[in-house]
């Protein structure tokens, strides 16, 4: 925790005080840059959500019109449901597979090292490239599966989940592999002495020891799956109908297809609120920034 490190430092104050500390002004360029290109636009999105603007001329204030429209828009409810569902299902799929593969890959056998190197290959392609690959492979006239997978709601949804997993599981496997290799060997020796078998060891040692790793990985996964934008754009275009139009896609359509930037900004603001609430919750639950310091003791 940040708290505990400060506590440690305070204990040493008398000695440490003589050591020069960098001036806080050094954070300024980075903070200003981030504020200008990330935080200020966020505030601007909020402002634009109270205006009517088609991209040309000046935004026109319209009060709460966009927000009212949004809250009564059946597409928003649908979009929110799909977004949440996609996030949860992707998280479950990716966590289970990467956890198992990661723990497996933590073993030092030669065959595991070779297979792990192969398993990593999908991550070398961009999400655009991967979406195009599966767009081609799922083509009913050309692809592996001669069935209009993307034409059905569940098919399209599962395709997005699968494609996201195909891309990101290699990365999360790596995180779990790193985590599993840090588990002290002694714990397993002790468990073996107590007669715990392989599966018992997995559930009683590996899983609890990977708690921090799991939080890190989950935060990255959940924040990442809010951004399956290009996968949706390329694979399904939100279809069939609007069944897979996740929030970012809904916003993109409103803004850059219908040129209703006021409404798009209302959806964007909603996305920010949802994402911030989610991240505050996750940071609170996990202490993301502290993860490393808790590791220091190991």
């Amino acid at each position: 925790m940040t708290k505990s490190t400060t506590a440690v430092r305070k204990g040493r104050t008398t000695e440490g005080a003589r050591t020069g500390r960098p001036h806080a002004v050094w954070v300024l360029p980075g903070v200003l840059f981030f504020v200008f290109f990330a935080l200020a636009p966020m505030a601007l999105a909020f402002y634009l959500s109270f205006t009517k603007w088609n991209g040309l001329g000046d935004p026109e204030p319209v009060g709460l019109a966009n927000w009212e429209k949004m809250l009564h828009d059946p597409r928003l409810t649908q979009s929110l449901t799909v977004t949440v569902l996609l996030t949860v299902v992707s998280w479950a799929f990716q966590t289970v597979v990467s956890l198992l593969l990661g723990v497996w890959a933590a073993g030092r056998q030669r065959n595991r090292a070779i297979l792990s190197a192969v398993f990593f290959v999908p991550f070398l392609l961009s999400s655009t490239a991967i979406s195009l690959l599966f767009y081609a492979l799922l083509d009913p006239n050309f692809g592996i599966i001669r069935h209009d997978t993307l034409g059905t709601t569940s098919g399209a949804f599962l395709a997005i989940v699968f494609v996201g997993g195909w891309q990101f599981i290699p990365f999360h496997t790596l995180i779990y592999q790193g985590g599993a290799r840090q588990i002290p060997e002694v714990l397993y020796q002790a468990a073996a002495m107590d007669g715990a078998g392989r599966y018992r060891q997995f559930f009683s040692i590996t899983l609890p020891q990977l708690r921090n790793t799991m939080t890190t990985s989950s935060v990255l996964m959940i924040v990442g799956s809010l951004t399956y934008f290009e996968t949706v754009l390329i694979l399904t275009q939100g279809g069939p109908g609007t069944d897979t139009a996740i929030l970012p896609y809904l916003m993109y359509e409103a803004g850059f297809k219908s040129y209703d930037f006021g409404y798009a900004s209302a959806v964007a603001s909603f996305l920010v609120v949802a994402a911030t609430a989610l991240s505050l919750l996750l940071v609170r639950l996990s202490g993301f920034g502290a993860m490393r310091s808790t590791r220091e003791g190991m």
Partner: protein
């Protein structure tokens, strides 16, 4: 399963006599016994990974007139490189160059801004340094999608629309939060004593940054380089919204445009996907260990 009984007696022994030398001592307990279930799972996942890659490469070598109705799993009867030729004659080199420029610029901006920032966040005790750190901690969750509309306004006001700079600046900004978390994480491991030793030598805080912090943070810095280069390499939304002409088009957007350009010419489309993967694949072959270790750092070493 039958092997289970084999290693156990010596586990007990080795635990009793920790200094047991020689070949019996291995690094991992679990590495000694084959695990049939895990083996099966790994072969299954191998198929999941390999089949699409195989189908992609095989299809990219298929002649266009044979492609329709062709079984993607069957190797092409008369393999050809003509699809690669088509892609390379459709501005692929230009797309690649633009992407490399964007990635390099993003990496430089992120390093120049985040290294001093993280140094101060770890070392300074002032309120402002702590707040800056918390700002980036929260920033991890800001989705880029949420700000494209106002950024579009901002970029047009700055007369940057349809330029590489329009892609570079926001991409760098959105790579910053995770970079700061990685760097502060690594910098916290530098002990107070080392700073004190340098202070005794009369080092200024600037010299500490260059002669102590940066050399000691090499692992974190290389993780940040890989992470931010990948963000730039994979970036799709910013190029889609902030550029429109051929001039500043990057690889991801170029691939997306090939869909309409090549239409039903799926072999050419897949050839472009293969080509887009080759540069990073080359890096992977040459520097797998560095890349993998760097990425492990994103998850906390």
């Amino acid at each position: 399963m039958a092997h289970d009984t084999l290693p156990r007696p010596h586990d007990v022994k080795s635990a009793g006599r920790p200094s047991l030398p020689g070949p019996v001592r291995r690094r991992r307990h679990w590495s000694r016994r084959p695990n049939p279930l895990a083996g099966l799972g790994s072969v299954l996942w191998l198929a999941v990974v390999i089949v699409p890659i195989y189908a992609m490469i095989s299809a990219s070598l298929t002649r266009q007139d044979e492609a329709l109705g062709h079984n993607a799993l069957k190797p092409p009867s008369r393999p050809t490189l003509e699809n690669y030729n088509t892609v390379l004659h459709n501005g692929f080199g230009h797309l690649l160059l633009n992407t490399v420029i964007v990635a390099a610029a993003v990496v430089v901006i992120v390093l120049v801004l985040c290294v001093p920032l993280s140094y101060v966040a770890v070392r300074s005790r002032t309120f402002w340094a702590g707040s800056a750190f918390r700002l980036f901690l929260l920033g991890v969750a800001i989705p880029a999608q949420a700000v494209v509309v106002p950024l579009y306004l901002l970029i047009s006001q700055l007369n940057l629309y349809d330029s590489l700079i329009a892609i570079i600046l926001p991409t760098a900004a959105f790579a910053m939060p995770v970079s700061v978390l990685i760097l502060t994480g690594t910098m916290r491991d530098i002990s107070e004593e080392m700073y004190e030793a340098m202070a005794l030598d009369g080092a200024s805080t600037t010299r500490m940054l260059f002669q102590l912090v940066i050399p000691m943070t090499k692992g974190g810095i290389s993780t940040v380089v890989i992470y931010s280069a990948l963000q730039a390499w994979n970036g799709f939304l910013f190029p889609l919204i902030f550029t429109q002409s051929d001039g500043p088009r990057v690889l991801t957007l170029g691939l997306f445009n090939y869909v309409s350009q090549f239409g039903v010419n799926i072999p050419a489309l897949l050839a472009s996907v293969v080509l887009s993967g080759i540069p990073i694949f080359a890096v992977y072959l040459v520097a797998r260990r560095a890349l993998v270790n760097g990425l492990m750092g994103v998850g906390g070493k």
